[in-house]
Symmetry: C2
Subunit: 241 residues, 2 copies
């Protein structure tokens, strides 16, 4: 990542920051912007980036803030299937459809960059690197989902919460924030939905992890005290068998 930034001539502080963000993300926005018109949208908490059923016309790159994706079934069952932070692509699950397949909602003040979709595909023809990045980003999304499917199918409630906290910590770290202390941008209900639990269970698990001195919880303020302990519970530390 740093190598890519170093190889690129830095034209200004703003351009440098933009480049950093671009290279940190799955796509090179700087280069892409030469071929497609990129609009910027700001969202307040609770606002939708898009809703299920709206015409599909673009994917989005999260430039700032925090969002969630909600899948809805025919009979009204709802689930948060992922959270999104800066540098991540949103909306890729709807590629190939005429209409978006789910809701994306901002949980915090956010800015997303709109990448109109057919044009992006067209730009790929002139930028092979972009095509490669895009398919790789889609594949990475699949792997990410599969990893959570594995977790949800094999871990207990407490282990899932531990794994969730570790995931959040790692993502904060990647963005240059402290992995030891961070604020959750979503409520207990959203965490529970994502982990396939009830919000009371999430509360219980957090309380217990606090009692075990693994973490310190004050509402949405999280401190990780014993990261290795958490990793051990979440099955990411060492082999149990």
């Amino acid at each position: 990542m740093h190598a890519i930034v170093a190889q690129t001539p830095v034209r200004s502080a703003y351009a440098a920051r933009q480049q950093l963000i671009a290279s940190a993300g799955p796509l090179d926005v700087d280069q892409l912007s030469r071929h497609v018109q990129i609009a910027r949208r700001k969202l307040a908490p609770g606002q939708h980036a898009y809703r299920a059923g709206q015409p599909f016309h673009a994917i989005y790159l999260v430039h700032a803030g925090f969002l969630k994706t909600c899948d809805l079934s025919e009979d009204g069952r709802e689930r948060v299937t992922s959270f999104h932070m800066r540098g991540e692509l949103v909306g890729v699950e709807s590629i190939g459809l005429a209409h978006y397949a789910c809701d994306v909602v901002a949980l915090d003040d956010s800015e997303i960059w709109e990448l109109p979709y057919p044009p992006v595909l067209h730009a790929c023809l002139q930028m092979p690197e972009l095509q490669s990045r895009l398919t790789a980003a889609l594949a990475a999304q699949i792997r990410n989902d599969r990893a959570w499917m594995l977790a949800l199918g094999t871990l207990t409630a407490e282990q899932r919460v531990a794994a969730f906290l570790l995931d959040m910590a790692e993502r904060h770290l990647r963005l240059g924030f402290s992995p030891r202390r961070f604020l959750l941008r979503m409520g207990r209900a959203d965490i529970a939905s994502f982990l396939g639990l009830k919000h009371e269970t999430v509360t219980r698990a957090l309380s217990r992890l606090d009692r075990l001195l693994c973490i310190e919880v004050q509402r949405r303020d999280i401190r990780l005290l014993d990261t290795d302990g958490l990793r051990r519970m979440a099955g990411q530390g060492e082999a149990i068998h």
Copy 2:
């Protein structure tokens, strides 16, 4: 689908069948084969298409048979994350990696067509349609995974089994087989792993659905007696609230 076949000159019975399969799948193999070398591999039950850690060099199109994808975590937890039938792409989750991320195992005598990966990307530059199909196939995979995440997080054991049977029925139907009666190609343990349950629970659920006259089970031989009833349980029929 039939329209596409009709538009294409049929050169022989074999070519027609090949064309049908090609058009039924996510990619146009006929056209693709002009640009990349496609090898055919036959697998006996239990044989691996690839294993986690092997160098990534190709994705596969299932031409015949039945396969499963197994994800493995660091600490040995294992899960079946999907099953694959004719016309489906396998290995896309590993795109962008140097090594495959999971195991793919044949559950039946199978034939898979090897699509060498960097060449496929290269071919996309000359066939825009292929590129569009490939990204759409990846996105469809994401949606499929998300739909199951939703189901696993919100449905009870019995409902999951019902949903699983309906999914199998629909896929059999798409391939031109009876959706009312089919043979499961995988064991109870694989079903359980996929659904995030234990194999005894799957057995119990199947027995209960049998007792309720929704289905008729004789080991791997499944008959669907009351499809609507199953749909109602699985939350695909009508709104409950």
